[in-house]
Amino acid sequence: MSARWEFGSRSPGVGATTVDVWQHRWLLRTVAVRAFQRMYRRTILGWLWLVINPLLPLVIRAIIFGALLGVSSDGLPYFLFLLGGSIAWDLFAATLMRGTRALEMHGEMSDLIYYPRAILPIGNIAPALLELGIKLGVFVVALVYYMIHDGRLYVRSDAALLWGLCALVLALIFALAISLFTSVWGETTRDTRFALNQLSSVWYLLTPVLYPMSQVPEAYRGWIVWNPMAVIVETFKWGVFGVGTFQPVLFAWTATAIGGLFLAGLIYFTRTEARIIDAR
């Protein structure tokens, strides 16, 4: 047995970190399992929350905005429209929240052993992915219901669906990119989470989830470009339902910007990694 010990403070580059994360990928499972356990432990309804949590707000919003306020929905049944937008938005919001809390939730693991910390935000988003799966399941059920009810399949069945998938992946990367920053801030300032919660609810309103983009007054539509989530959600809805507009150039720009942010996040995260551990 040849054990090699290495002491000292080092700040590896992004490349080295990526390799390191890949070598420690088995830890992702551990972190993911811990994330699930922490989530519903000591709650009365337990795993039921997993279903209630995403569905109840959806149903209430569909009743209030669809039935009561009659918000237009690009010709789709409002529930389906809202569910589609929510799938993309909630993936972003849940990933952002879980990624941000990663260091705080699993930090005590760092006191014991070494591993690349970037594992934590990645592994901790597992429940968000499960929620996505549950929502996709509900989506399929809703599609079948509306097919029987209206005799029409509202979802597209061509290659455009891949754009929807691209949008989902981009939402995930965007959330991860932000949480590479916020998880570090969250370690030193506790308010980060609350500020993020507030920001997230405002951001939600500014993203066309409850309403279609066509509803936004002409004068303000130009500003939407600055909200990457609006572009992502619109692209998702276009890819899945074929409603709304798809602007390939805008989407490409958004993807590039998010890629840049992700890279910047990785650099920031690896630079501060050593410092976070000391700050604990």
């Binding site: 000591r42 709650t43 949590n53 109840l56 707000p57 209430i60 919003r61 209030i64 905005f65 009561l68 306020l69 918000v71 308010d191 919660n197 507030q198 609810s201 405002v202 309103l205 500014l206 409850l210 309403y211 509803q215 936004v216 007054p217 303000y220």
Partner: protein
Amino acid sequence: MNPMSSSASEAAERSAWSISADARDGFAARVREVWQYRRILWFFALRATQALYRKTYLGVWWLFIRTLVPLIVGAFVFGAVINVPSGGVPYLVFFLAGQLAWNFFDGPLVRASRGIDGNRQLLTKLYIPRIILPLGQMAAGVVEPIIIAVILVVTVVYYRRVDGVWYVQPGLRLMAASAAVLVILWFAFALSLFTSVWQGRARDTRFVLRHIVGFWLFLTPVVYPASQVPARIRWLIYVNPLTAPVETFKWAVLPGMEHSWPWFMYSVGLTAALFVAGLWYFARSEGATMDKL
């Protein structure tokens, strides 16, 4: 304990120490106790208010930004994008009036629920009537509505210049508005008698609470008028005890609104019942909760 033979020293000890497990004083005794400790109430209120902005980068400005930004975005989205009807009043005024009423519930409830949980350190060291905690914490929740009230006044003055109409008329009706605010605050306090105990036991209560308050907002006619609900099923929305006070508040502040006194009385009755139940629950469980802190 060291057994003592002499009865004199035993008597002396008894007079010096009196520990009784059945500290179930009557209701009047509790109220008197809160009155005796009223200075601590101010202390908690002040501390909770300072906690709103202390140790944040932006200081007091954070408080304003946190209140203002969601209002502006909300008014834009619900008023300009979704075009929610507002009964003839500019949507911004309508929205601010509704938010003002709602924030007398939202902030106070969330803050008051933190009463026991946020003062763990203190509670394990000294005795104070615990009911002071949610009550004092609640005071901090009134700060945001005050900011919104100021914004509402500014907006009304603005529309006076633009439209030449005072959308808020001073008059006797404003008495009804304050009654509505009192009912909303009372309801928040009654509810916090339960939630503060739960949060003392399980800290994640606050996440569940935020969640519930988040969609409770949409079940209450805050961003839309109750008249938007089809008349046939309008009673459904009034079952929510916050609907009537919010509607009464908007009726009292704005012209051309509808409201219903019978439903208002229903809300008052329900709040009173909840309050009594809450007091009973709080008194019954405070001892056990303190042990588990």
